[in-house]
Symmetry: C2
């Protein structure tokens, strides 16, 4: 607490949720490089599209070694996750502690509907990155983020008085919100997002009304 007034450490919005880097004491150079990497990655993604951004290019653009990228983010999916971490954190905050209909206090079915709509909006905004972040089917299903979503959905299903195998119903509902699926429906099949959202609402009602 000896106060280092000369150190202009930016707060670095620590991801308090069970996401990737719970970084304790991070050395100054490490923090600086993480910033550079995220900045470079965001820039490259914006100007070339996710598919045309290689890990090596990100490293080069950040003027950093390739090994550093992987040390910081584990793998490509980890980097993409970090890119949308802020949005994901906001979403979690909203349905965990925010106001209804998303947050606690409202009707569980309505909360479920709102959760799906929020997720769909996120896919709309960050579909490409999300798809890359969830590309590995193996890890996607075991990823902490998915765990948080699953816990939340299962909780809402129980609150809604759903009888049956809540865990399996949760998996089915989350599968419907899968980034790749939604992106495909939207961009390949040409379904408007409003239609997908209506489909979600309908599905939630069908599943909970029993």
């Amino acid at each position: 607490m000896a106060s280092t007034p000369t150190a202009p450490l930016t707060p670095l919005p620590t991801l308090a949720l069970p996401m990737a880097g719970a970084q304790e004491h991070e050395r100054a150079d490490a923090a600086r490089n993480r910033r550079r990497l995220l900045d470079a990655a965001g820039r490259l993604v914006a100007e070339r599209g996710v598919a045309n951004v290689t890990m090596e290019a990100v490293a080069a653009a950040a003027e950093v070694g390739k090994g550093t990228v992987f040390r910081r983010f584990g793998d490509r999916a980890g980097l993409m996750n970090a890119l949308i971490n802020h949005t994901e954190t906001d979403l979690q905050e909203a349905f965990l502690h925010g106001p209804p209909p998303l947050g606690p206090g409202g009707d569980p079915v309505e909360r479920l509907v709102a959760f799906g709509h929020a997720r769909l909006e996120m896919v709309d905004l960050h579909g490409e990155v999300l798809r890359a972040a969830e590309s590995c089917a193996e890890k996607r299903l075991a990823h902490p983020t998915r765990g948080v979503h699953a816990t939340h959905v299962a909780s809402l299903l129980r609150d809604a008085g759903v009888s049956g195998d809540v865990q399996l119903l949760t998996d089915s509902l989350l599968a419907t919100l899968d980034a790749s699926l939604v992106w495909h429906q939207n961009h390949v099949l040409g379904m408007p997002l409003a239609r997908i959202a209506d489909g979600w609402t309908d599905l939630v009602h069908r599943v909970t009304r029993c």
Copy 2:
């Protein structure tokens, strides 16, 4: 974003569909090599597991050049698809022209339930290969096999008198039967297949009972 200096487009010359043997005129040597490759691939998968089988190893085991593998099957997923093509064809035959409850003639809801159970059994038997065959989220959703399943499920939903967006409901149902998801539930989460099957039955009833 529109200007992409590099050409990411893959012309993908002829790539005959890895599905049913609609192989027009196939030269004798080509047919012989395809046999060898499928044989070798099956052997290697059986003895090492899918994850430890490289395309190069398959080529070597078949005493064939690497390029031949890709010429025949397009990519890794295509090879895996070819490996389970027979089983998949049997499944399609069963629900298209076989006896009830899977085939035509029975109650659509029961057929839907039976379809899911048949699919789950397939995942149980060939889960590893199926996962590899459907690994690329991009192509999986556009794959002919999925199209056949989707058409069938949608048809059953309509026959069951379901009101609502049948196409979206179909996508949700199929997402529940996703090989990676089921495999994860079964092998990682330790859910017995019987439970997953019961979950499917329940889900189908919830979705159709409205």
